[in-house]
Symmetry: C2
Subunit: 367 residues, 2 copies
């Protein structure tokens, strides 16, 4: 059933979305400020729709920011770009949207649909196409289960719009949209995967905004009550589609190598155990892709690899990784519809050029 989001929910949602971003998806902090400001006018609330509430013929248009997280934290949106993308896509389709939706529930893209909702009055569907964050636009459950991303609309900071139509080829759509994103300075705002309510129910990962809110609240309360954040996280995940939580490593960040290249933030980070030998290496393309402890794979995409501040439990994004941080690295099982062979072909390890087969985190690490 539908629920209402107020300004007071945003900090918790941003925290949970930063965790579900698995290091990427862009820091939700800036997005939260934009949504907070937009909510000062109008009703001051945003309606969250359960996917089951959608009519089969409703038109849902997801919106997002795309680009390198390293750029996203420096290039602040005006706030109207994603609305402009939505309107451009509506004009192309000759039909108004009945709701908007996240394409990914991790990072700043948990916030962009709320920003559009606050500015347009549209409801937001509580579901997404990644169940986390991924760096590329074809890496969506929508794509895996047959929804074309095209036509895609881009709204730029000067009021310019771009419409890209690559038919059913969502990887080509990503390639061309990334070219425009680079030309726009490394960040762009998009509307894509316009689909029917029936397709949302068939292809989306459900209730991931609600999950983000629940995770963020659990981490905050653990900190306020001086409880262990990982235990709180595991408790929050119980009964959800993400119910296996494993500690992969505890230690200090001793090295970060990060480059913004071809529109992505790519790199590695190394953590050393607090005491004694033992090392964890993280490899990322916007998001963490694989965690290797002493050379052995402990968790690999699309399972979630999340870095938390060891004391406060705050999620740390890849662009926020710094030498000397004390961290706990957690692996979380991804929902079953993201572990099918057709899903792994699109966003499993080999889709990122890694020479690794997917193995579930619960098989790699004991509780």
């Amino acid at each position: 059933m539908s629920r209402t989001i107020t300004r007071h929910d945003l900090a918790d949602l941003a925290r949970g979305a930063a965790l579900l971003g698995t290091g990427g998806g862009g820091d939700p902090y800036v997005g939260r400020l934009l949504v907070e400001r937009a909510m000062l006018t109008g009703s001051g609330t945003i309606t969250l729709l359960d996917p089951g509430e959608l009519g089969d013929d409703d038109l849902v248009i997801p919106v997002a920011q795309m680009g390198a997280p390293t750029v996203m934290v420096e290039k602040i949106p005006g706030g109207g770009e994603a609305v402009a993308a939505l309107r451009a896509l509506e004009e192309r389709l000759g039909r108004r949207a009945d709701a908007t939706m996240p394409i990914e529930c991790g990072g700043i893209n948990s916030m962009m649909p709320l920003l559009v909702a606050a500015r347009t009055g549209l409801p937001v569907v509580d579901a997404d196409g990644m169940g986390r964050a991924f760096p590329e636009l074809q890496m969506e459950t929508f794509s895996v289960y047959g929804v074309p991303g095209s036509p895609l609309a881009i709204g730029g900071e000067n009021g310019e719009t771009v419409i890209i139509d690559t038919g059913a080829d969502n990887a080509r759509m990503e390639w061309l949209a990334r070219g425009i994103t680079i030309r726009m300075g490394g960040v762009a705002h998009i509307a894509e995967y316009a689909m029917s309510g029936a397709d949302v129910k068939r292809t989306a990962v459900p209730n991931t905004l609600g999950l983000g809110l629940r995770i963020g609240r659990a981490l905050r309360e653990a900190r306020e009550e001086h409880r262990d954040p990982v235990q709180a996280l595991a408790a929050a995940m119980e009964g959800t589609l993400y119910d296996k939580v494993r500690v992969l490593f505890r230690g200090k960040v001793v090295d970060v190598e990060r480059r913004t290249v071809a529109g992505f933030a790519r790199g590695h980070a190394r953590l050393a155990a607090f005491q004694g030998p033992g090392e964890l290496e993280l490899t990322f393309q916007n998001e963490h892709l694989v965690a290797r402890a002493d050379g052995r794979v402990r968790c690999v995409v699309p399972d979630l690899i999340c870095v938390l501040d060891a004391d406060s439990g705050e999620p740390i994004t890849t662009e926020g990784l710094r030498y000397g941080q004390r961290a706990v690295v957690v692996g979380i099982s991804t929902p079953a519809l993201m572990r099918t062979p057709e899903a792994l072909a699109v966003f499993g390890p080999r889709a990122f050029g890694l020479d690794i087969d997917f193995r579930p985190v619960e098989d790699l690490v004991s509780p």
Copy 2:
């Protein structure tokens, strides 16, 4: 009045267009083959319209290939891309074109509108927006005199389309379209500067396809009759908008430095006199921008700098420049509407980052 182009005109037109391309615009050879093949079906002729024959409310949609000439000679179009761009723009505008037109009369873009005409039956307006070739899309008389290039449509080799709308900002349109061109492998096909017949008459350089045909025929006949190609060229230019022809240099190509960078072919070429001292340096970005003899400017953009084979009179494109070629370099005055202050602001030397003021070739070099 309207005239007809047959397959037998194409070789002459290609030769003349290569000259008007001032080294760039892409080698018209490939374009000519595509048009020849397309003309084998249908009526076998293409109608060329004088701009004066257009109704003021007619819709004219120019088409072109964009990219680095170094790539254009290697990446052969299928032939339908420019038609797809035209159709995508018609759909966006909600109206069918009454005619197509070149955006530049130099190089392969003299041929692309003929290809579209042969495949669609549309007539081609005998006029263009550069009166030569330029490397960037805002460098058009259309733009100088107030016609927006947007919306621009791109047709790709896999049937994909992109629509870019930057309002009145034609330089931003170029920037974004170049990003897509790079992602498409260095070449794309576009439809842009859709305009009324009245705007064609007000802003286009008239009768430049006819001029290309005349130049190509003059150079061929001079070769067949063993006459001097430069004298034949000067005679062909008499009474046209391009009536000052000057020999800048005769010599051998001794050095070529050429890179394909950011979607353009950029570089320098040096020629040494056949006998004794004396050197000419050519600087190009797709097209030749400036010719300096012994350090002194002899001809500068937007005047035309054309390199011809010293013996055959065949124009040599920048990507065709080779060590050891024997060449004559000719400067040609550009039409008056391309030398106004507002035109020079868009495609004069400083628009290319050159620290030179424009001076007419007839003031720099005596006959």
